[in-house]
Symmetry: C2
C-alpha cells in the first residue's frame, strides 16, 4: 500500500507538504495541491490509521457504549446505534462498539490505550455505573439519556416533559377533559428509568394546569396486564375519552385488540396518542398519532456535542430535543362533543 513518501515522490514535494495539503492546516499553492491530489488518486493513497493516531492527537474513533437492559427495546437501540454511526461518519469518525459485558472495563481500556477521542453513551440509567468512569476518564463524552446527577456531564434527550405537555394540549384542544395515561411496567418507575417518571409527572401536572381530569396506571405487557391497566384507568376516570400511551411497544397492539373486542371505536369512542415511541405506529389500525422518540436527531446531536468537546469549546449541559406531534387517525373530538 502506498504511503505518504510515495505520494511525495510522485508529486515532487516533501512529505510535510503532502500532509499539510491533505489536512488543510496550512496554505498550499494551487498547482502543488493539484499535483498532490493527482498522486493520491494515482496511488490510491489513504493515510495509515495507526501512524495518524500515533503522530497526531486524534484517532477519529468514538466509543459507543450500548448495553442491553431487560427493558431495552432492541429495535430502538439499533436505531440509535445506526444514527450515531451515520452522524459520526459525517465528521469522518468511525465507531467502536462496546457492549454490556464490558461496560466500564471496555471504556477504561479504549481510553487508556488512546484508541478513541470520545465516548457516546446509549441507554443511560439513572444511576449508571458508567458515569463514574466517565467523570474519572475526563474524555469528551455525550450521554443519550439523563442520569440523576448531571453535574459536569453533557447529555441529550427528548424533552419528555414537553412531550407529555404536548400530548395533553393536543387532546385538550380537541375537547377532551378526561385523559388516561397508560404507563410502563411498575419496575421502570421504581428503578433505572428517568424518562418514565418524568413523563408521568409532567402529564399529571399538565392535566391539572389545564383543569381537566387525568389518571395514570402502570401496565404489564401482557393481555391481562393491558386489560387491568385499562380497567384501572376507567375506574378512576369513568368519563375517559382519551388515552396517552407511554409504554412498551407490545402494549399498543394488545390494547387495540382489546378495544376491538369490547367494541370501543378508535378514535370515535376513544382517542389514542402514542408518546415517545421508537417504532412506527403507522401499521396499527387506525394509524396512531405519535410523538416519536427522535433517534436520528439524538444521535446527530450527541455526535455534534462530542465533536465540539474534542475541539475544545463546549460547556457541559443538558440539551433537550423538542417533541413533535405526528397527526394520524387515532384522535378525534370526544363523542359527547361530536354529539353536541
Amino acid at each position: 500500500m502506498a504511503n505518504i513518501t510515495d505520494v511525495a515522490r510522485v508529486a515532487g514535494v516533501s512529505i510535510s507538504t503532502v500532509s499539510y495539503a491533505l489536512s488543510g492546516k496550512r496554505p498550499i499553492a494551487d498547482a502543488t495541491k493539484t499535483r498532490i491530489a493527482q498522486a493520491v488518486t494515482e496511488l490510491g493513497y489513504r493515510p495509515n490509521a495507526g501512524a495518524r493516531m500515533l503522530a497526531g492527537s486524534r484517532t477519529n474513533i468514538f466509543a459507543l457504549t450500548a448495553p442491553m437492559h431487560e427493558d431495552t427495546h432492541p429495535p430502538a437501540l439499533m436505531s440509535f446505534v445506526l444514527s450515531v454511526v451515520t452522524a459520526a461518519r459525517s465528521y469522518d469518525y468511525d465507531v467502536l462498539l462496546l457492549t454490556e459485558g464490558e461496560a466500564t472495563t471496555g471504556l477504561r481500556r479504549v481510553v487508556s490505550s488512546s484508541l478513541v477521542d470520545g465516548i457516546i453513551m446509549l441507554d443511560v440509567t439513572v444511576e449508571d455505573e458508567r458515569i463514574d468512569v466517565i467523570r474519572e476518564l475526563g474524555l469528551p463524552t455525550t450521554l443519550i439519556g439523563i442520569p440523576h446527577d448531571t453535574e459536569g456531564l453533557t447529555c441529550v434527550d427528548l424533552d419528555f416533559e414537553g412531550a407529555a405537555r404536548l400530548a395533553v394540549s393536543r387532546l385538550v384542544a380537541l375537547g377532551h377533559t378526561s385523559i388516561g395515561l397508560m404507563g410502563h411496567a411498575e419496575a421502570l418507575y421504581e428503578r433505572g428509568s428517568n424518562y418514565a417518571p418524568r413523563f408521568r409527572d409532567a402529564f399529571l401536572a399538565a392535566g391539572s394546569d389545564a383543569g381537566i381530569q387525568t389518571a395514570f396506571h402502570t401496565t404489564v405487557a401482557t393481555r391481562p396486564g393491558v386489560e387491568e391497566s385499562l380497567d384501572g384507568l376507567r375506574a378512576q376516570l369513568p368519563g375517559m375519552t382519551a388515552l396517552v400511551l407511554n409504554c412498551n411497544e407490545n402494549i399498543h397492539g394488545i390494547l387495540l385488540e382489546v378495544l376491538r373486542e369490547r367494541e370501543v371505536a378508535v378514535p370515535e369512542a376513544l382517542s389514542i396518542v402514542s408518546a415517545c415511541s421508537s417504532f412506527s405506529t403507522d401499521h396499527f389500525l387506525p394509524p396512531m398519532d405519535v410523538i416519536p422518540l427522535p433517534s436520528q436527531e439524538s444521535g446527530r446531536r450527541a455526535v455534534e456535542l462530542a465533536i465540539q468537546q474534542i475541539a475544545g469549546f463546549a460547556d457541559p449541559h443538558v440539551e433537550l430535543i423538542a417533541p413533535v406531534y405526528h397527526r394520524k387517525s387515532s384522535t378525534a373530538p370526544p363523542a359527547a362533543t361530536v354529539a353536541a
Copy 2:
C-alpha cells in the same frame, strides 16, 4: 499516560524486554516478568493502540458490516451484532461498526488505511455488493450468511436445509402426514434471500422423502395476508394437521389470533413449529416449538474463522451450524391419531 519507557525504567529493564514480556513472544525470566508486571500495575500502563498498529502487523480491530435491508429484523441484527462483539472481545479484538450508507466505501476505507485486521459481514444477500470488494481486498473475512457464489469465501450460517428436515422429521415422528409451510413474503424468494428458498426446497424434499403430503405458501405479514396463506395451505392440504413457520415474526402472533378466533386449538387440532426464528417463542400461547436461529454460535464461529485466517491457517469454506429443536407446547400427535 505511562508509556513503555516508563514501565521499562520502573522495572529496571529495556523496553524490548517489556514488549516481549507482554506479548509472550520470547521467554523471559520469571523474576523479570514479575517486576514488569508490578511496574505495569503500578503505572496503570496500557500499550498505545496507534503505536501498536503502526509497529506491529495487527490492529486488533474487526470491521463489522451490518446493513439494514427492508426485511431486516432489527432485534435479530442486534443479537448478531452483540454476539460478534462479545466473541471478538474474547480474542482481544474490538469491533468497528460499518453501516449501509458505507457498505463498500467503508470497507475500502478501513482496509486501505490499515484500521482493521479482518471483516465480519452480517445480513449477506445472494448477490451482495460487498462481496466483490471483499474478494478484491483480500483481507480475512467471514460472512454470516451464504451468497450465490461462495468461491474463495469463508461463510457461516445455520443449516437451513437441515432445519427444514428436522422440522419435518419431528412432526412425522408425532404422526403427522400432512404438513404446511407458511413462508416469508414472496419477494424474499425472488430476490436477495438465500435461506428462504433453501428452507422451502428442503422442506418439500423432506416431505416427499417421508412419503407425506406437504404444501408451501408465501405470507404477507398482515392479518389478511396470514389468512390468505392459511386458507391457501388448507386448500392444498384439506387434511393438514401441522404447520411449519419459516416467516416474519409478526406472522406468529397474527396466526395464533386467527386460529383462536376460528377455534382451531393448538396443538390439539393443529401443531406448529417455528423454524429459524431469531426471537423468543416462549411468550406465545401456547409457547411454541422452535428451531432457533443461532446468533450466539454464528457470531462466535464467524470470529473464530476470522481469527484463524488472520493467523494464516484457514481454507475458505462454508460452515453450517447444526439446527437444534426446542420442544415447547405447540406440537402434539394429530387429532386423528389421538382419536384412534
